[in-house]
Symmetry: C2
Subunit: 345 residues, 2 copies
């Protein structure tokens, strides 16, 4: 098919650092090209892609200090006008840009689909609701449950894909600690991770950043417990270090305290052959299962069930990652969405 | 007629402080209501208007610190979606919001007109050019000359109106100084104003703000010359003080060094019965004439011609302000624009 992929312009595709949406767009786009589709990627000019690149701005907006945020939307509109001008060249448009694109999509003459990468917050909800009939994809059933399930025209749930082969497990016997990876904050349950590690008597490595508004939490709930090697904080880590940390962990602890729509950490852990110990919030019960995780409703329950980790195999974890969260399965799922939408039109 | 006025959401209508566009929208809207039209004003909820007010945000965006600039456009889109939903209730839409509204206007089913209050800068020019067939109004012929005169579908030039009656002249004989009013910077010619005052031997009062990036200019070109009462800097002044300053000035000096599209200061001076001494740049030759101003191509020429001020009467200045720059003439001019556009459709 001839598909237009519409990316945000804030980060390049793929992103240099943080940028979950741009990473997913990159993996999806390159995989669709590999599967023989003709893809045009609307993204910032510093993007790197196997698709044909259409850009209205040389550098991603967040890396252009001379472009104030209030002008960002001018570039979004220019990207959308370019897409509108070229629309006869495509069979379907896939929007990853969010609310910015919805009014423009509503007047395109071909099928469109919008993946909701971010929660529909109050300030933009009226835009989604005014254009509720456009086709939407949720990134998990949990996402959908908390984002206007009865109002928006959700046509599918497609999990975010990762490059499963870029993760690896350690040599047998090398796994020696629990791992907390992600932003250190109450929502992600850093303090509960420390409690779990202590109660099961295993060392914990903590990797991730402390945002400015989480410094108080860090100072009160995390810093007092830091004492290597029992509880060790490594700061932010890059991809290579992250792969090494996943691959040598006995389990990733994930005692989240909010309805996380899609936890990339869980998918990456499974891809590394590493089970997850998680509280049953948000997408946890979808992403994980009894063969790959300890899932419970409280820290007490997780600690009590912890010994069952012995029964979980690396192979089961990797197999689930490959079946549900590979970029290949993501591309195949979107191919089905595009096909259904094209038939409808 | 039933008219939708679409204001920016950054400042309330009218603005509490700076906000040239919002002031013009306020004067136009209230005057159109007074003339019997049915006006709906799309603006922030803290606006005050005689029209029916439609708001998607309680407070103007610039006064809402909890709304980051990158979300401002969500409110613009919400205002536009509300307008689209209500479009059958109007005969014409008048856009003052700028490029943000153009794609939405292009799909409305009724006549629209966009007043270009700001220059078409490079970052948004592709949006204007993609929608060049929409009807545009320039705020002066000078504006049009420097903003894609051969590309955009300009249907009229309408000068910004002011509330002429809110300005007043001093009692005869009370006029005793030259006045520079506006931002202190090279473009506005603050230093040249000082030179003119010295060479003609009259005191100069300077009123206006110094922007952060003009501090260097102020320190080098203005501050060394300040010595009251000959050259006096008053800082920023409010409306009442501004009216008093205009009304007691022998003349306003306006030696601008750029192509100013519309100098509100000139209109306000004339409304106060005060002549202007100006360099012939931008809209100067349109706004002023030989009966109301000394116009020249250099400071030397202005100084040489200065004695001719004696021949200029308060009445001529006020009369020109009333004929060209009153809110009443602005409303009448827009009524003609609306009528022509409605006939075309």
């Amino acid at each position: 098919m001839r598909i237009a992929q519409l990316a945000p312009l804030t980060e390049p595709v793929p992103p240099r650092g943080y940028g979950g949406t741009e990473l997913v767009v990159s993996l999806l786009t390159d995989e669709l090209v590999a599967r023989g589709h003709e893809i045009t990627l609307f993204a910032s000019g510093d993007s790197r892609t196997k698709a044909k690149l259409m850009s209205v701005v040389d550098s991603a907006l967040r890396t252009s200090p001379d472009i104030p945020e209030r002008r960002w939307m001018a570039y979004d509109l220019r990207s959308l006008l370019k897409l509108e001008e070229m629309q006869s060249e495509f069979d379907v448009i896939h929007n990853h840009m969010g609310w910015q694109a919805l009014p423009a999509l509503s007047r395109m003459k071909l099928p469109t689909v919008t993946t909701n990468h971010n929660p529909v917050k109050d300030y933009c909800a009226p835009i989604y609701l005014a254009l509720r009939k456009l086709p939407y994809v949720s990134i998990s059933d949990a996402y959908r449950r908390f984002n206007y399930p009865d109002d928006l025209n959700y046509v599918a749930t497609v999990y975010n894909g990762i490059d499963v082969d870029s993760f690896e497990s350690a040599h047998p016997g090398k796994r020696s600690y629990l791992l907390f990876l992600g932003r250190l904050c109450a929502d992600k349950g850093t303090a509960e991770s420390i409690e779990i590690a202590r109660r099961v008597g295993l060392p914990l490595k903590i990797a991730g950043k402390v945002d400015a508004n989480d410094v108080e939490y860090f100072d009160a709930k995390v810093r007092p417990h830091l004492k290597a090697p029992e509880i060790e904080y490594l700061g932010e880590v890059g991809h290579a270090e992250k792969v090494r940390l996943y691959g040598q962990a006995i389990a990733v602890v994930y005692p989240i305290a909010f309805e996380e729509p899609f936890g990339l950490v869980m998918a990456e852990a499974l891809a590394s052959g590493t089970p997850v110990v998680a509280l049953a919030r948000g997408s946890v019960p979808e992403v994980l299962d009894q063969n790959t995780a300890i899932i419970g409703d409280s820290v007490d329950e997780l600690v009590k069930e912890f010994p069952r980790l012995q029964t979980i195999s690396e192979a089961a974890c990797k197999s689930r990652a490959r079946d549900l969260f590979s970029k290949e399965q993501m591309a195949a799922a979107y191919e089905r969405v595009y096909a259904v939408l094209s038939e409808r039109c």
